[in-house]
């Protein structure tokens, strides 16, 4: 229907024959095992009239709630990033995150969404958005049989779809904040945020959820909730930012050896990790885009990966650094969450544990390697989101199962008899996102640098961004200890 917008091409878990099909889905939680489906079956798509209305209303309310959880992640990011950096920059961090969500919502409305989900709006890129008559008014949800999409789903109403997707855009932007903490000009950060949420992120999203080249490959790209589209985008932008801005003063010795610059509050950082963990139960289950029995499966798989990630990072840090590092364990939990976004609908419980524990190990090793490479990413944003986002895409290529639910038309991963074709697609996705974002964000940060908008002066950096960029310290004189470091 030309007046309706699809909820993108986000792949939902296919519960094609209604409730009964969910039995099949269940087997995704196992290494193997055919579904038992001896119960009475009701077909979601066969509902009509008030029944369909109730179903669709629940879908939309559910996604609204998930979007709220995703917006809550902003508080989590703020706390993680502020906690792992210096007290003298804490207010600046929170201000950046406040602006990420504000800019994110507005830029995504005005420009980004039209690019991300071209749909009927092909040709409108750049002008589509809020001001196009019919843009928001056409969120009517028609519940008649003819309204069903090809895949047997009702689309979400436009406002809820936008609300959910805008929360994702703001999330992608915020990932960078921590990587460039403590030395970036505030005005430069605002400009970065405008471009990321208005252009870079939407373009990447259009490749898959917007129906672009990744989604239309013979063996379709699998990125259920955005290991690649969201996290790699944020993560690689973070990497380019950290490189181009350069390390904080004092982060490396004259001969290039990294020095520790301990964060000012690990307790705040881990509180942020808990909040992100909660938010992720909007991020992943909400990406099903409807309220059905797949939601709890997604939640369990998500929790398994998170738990395995935390334990993997704890173990890895314990082995490599002799003690279990707290902020690394927090990074590990997040790494597990980032990595499982891609395959949460396709991997088994075993696959989730493997995805998570590997992500937890990778993130620790990556943080160490990045630092050894002379790059200053104070919160490990690239390692968590960039590296583990890529790992998540690859993990799906290895570990995706062929369960009844995703059926014959879906490819299993390399380890599940599906051959390399899914893995190849996933690798293409990894390369495409990494390359495009590195170039685009690289150009953006280089441009800002050239314009003198990227980095504060050494005096301002030493004084702290709270005072130099915002006029007053983030902690009052009754809290802040004048540090001798």
């Amino acid at each position: 229907m030309s007046h309706r917008r699809e909820a993108g091409n986000r792949r939902r878990l296919r519960t094609k024959v209604g409730m009964a099909a969910v039995a099949g889905l269940g087997s995704a939680l196992l290494l193997a095992g055919p579904a038992s489906a001896q119960a009475e079956q009701y077909d979601r798509t066969a509902a009509t009239g008030a029944e369909a209305m109730n179903m669709v209303v629940l879908d939309n309310i559910f996604i609204f709630i998930c979007a709220v959880l995703v917006f809550l992640m902003q508080a989590g990011f703020g706390l993680v990033e502020a906690g792992l950096t210096r007290a003298k920059n804490a207010a600046n961090i929170m201000m950046k995150n406040l602006m990420d969500v504000s800019i994110g919502v507005l830029m995504f409305a005005f420009i980004g969404w039209g690019i991300a989900y071209p749909g009927d709006f092909n040709g409108w890129i750049g002008s589509a958005g809020l001001w196009v008559p019919g843009f928001f008014s056409s969120y009517l949800v028609d519940v008649g049989p003819e309204a069903l999409a090809d895949d047997g789903f009702y689309p979400l109403a436009i406002p809820v779809d936008f609300f959910f997707q805008a929360a994702f855009a703001a999330t992608a932007a915020t990932i960078v904040s921590g990587a460039v903490a403590g030395r970036t000009k505030f005005i430069g950060y605002l400009l970065y945020s405008v471009v990321l949420t208005g252009l870079i992120y939407p373009i990447v999203v259009s490749w898959q959820w917007g129906g672009g080249f990744l989604s239309s490959r013979a063996t379709g790209f699998v990125d259920f909730a955005g290991s690649g589209l969201v996290h790699m985008t944020g993560g690689f932008a973070a990497l380019m930012g950290a490189i181009i801005i350069g390390p904080r003063i004092g982060k490396f010795t004259a001969d290039g050896k990294p020095k520790a610059m301990p964060g000012h509050s690990v307790p705040l950082a881990i509180t942020g990790v808990f909040i992100l963990f909660i938010g992720w139960f909007g991020f992943n289950p909400g990406s099903q885009l409807q309220a059905d029995m797949a939601v709890p499966v997604i939640a369990v798989i998500t929790a398994f990966a998170a738990a395995a990630g935390a334990m993997g990072a704890m173990a890895t840090s314990w082995i490599t650094m002799k003690k279990p590092d707290v902020s690394m364990a927090g990074n590990g939990l997040l790494a597990g969450l980032v990595a499982i976004c891609s395959g949460v609908g396709e991997v088994s419980a075993f696959g989730a544990l493997l995805t998570g524990v590997v992500a937890g190990s990778i993130v620790v090793l990556s943080v160490l390697a990045i630092e050894r490479a002379g790059i200053d990413d104070p919160v490990g944003a690239f390692s968590v989101h960039g590296v583990c986002g890529a790992w998540g895409l690859i993990a799906t290529g290895l570990l995706a199962t062929t369960s009844p639910i995703n059926g014959a038309e879906e490819s299993a991963g390399l380890f599940y008899g599906g051959g390399a074709s899914l893995l190849v697609t996933q690798l293409i996705g990894v390369v495409a996102i990494a390359a495009f974002v590195s170039v685009a964000a690289g150009a953006l940060f280089a441009g800002l640098k050239a314009a003198g908008l990227l980095r504060v002066s050494a005096e301002e950096e030493i004084a702290g961004l709270d005072v130099s960029e915002h006029g007053a310290p983030g902690y009052g004189p009754d809290m802040l200890v004048a540090s001798s470091v």
């Binding site: 520790a260 301990p262 490599t320 002799k322």
Partner: protein, 112 residues
């Protein structure tokens, strides 16, 4: 009049305070400081980067005392603060030319 300055281990403060009270000392000024010494520091590891913490928390006491009492005060502190383990700290005595109690304007030994 002399000024007794002592740098001690923080957790010995209570005992030193009681010892001083025991010999009639009614006033002192305490500062949280960091000490560098033979005790050495320790290594910490934050996100994989090791760093040396050379300074350990110490507590500094400053007490102005009438000259005749100095050795009594110094002994009281030194014995109360002693654990025998490295890092117990130092105590030194410096001359004071004059002393004033701000509230009353009293000077000299009366102001202690």
């Amino acid at each position: 009049m002399q000024l007794v300055t002592a740098v001690i281990k923080p957790h010995m403060l209570d005992e030193v305070k009681e010892a001083l009270r025991g010999i009639g000392i009614q006033g002192m000024t305490v500062t949280e400081v960091k000490g560098f010494g033979r005790q050495g520091g320790h290594t910490e590891t934050y996100r994989g980067a090791e760093y040396q913490v050379d300074f350990v928390p110490k507590t500094k006491l400053e007490i102005v005392v009438d000259t005749p009492d100095v050795s009594k005060v110094a002994d009281a502190i030194a014995s109360a603060a002693q654990t025998g383990k490295i890092g117990d700290g130092k105590l030194w005595v410096t001359p004071v030319d004059s002393l004033v109690r701000i509230r009353t304007g009293e000077v000299g030994a009366d102001a202690v």
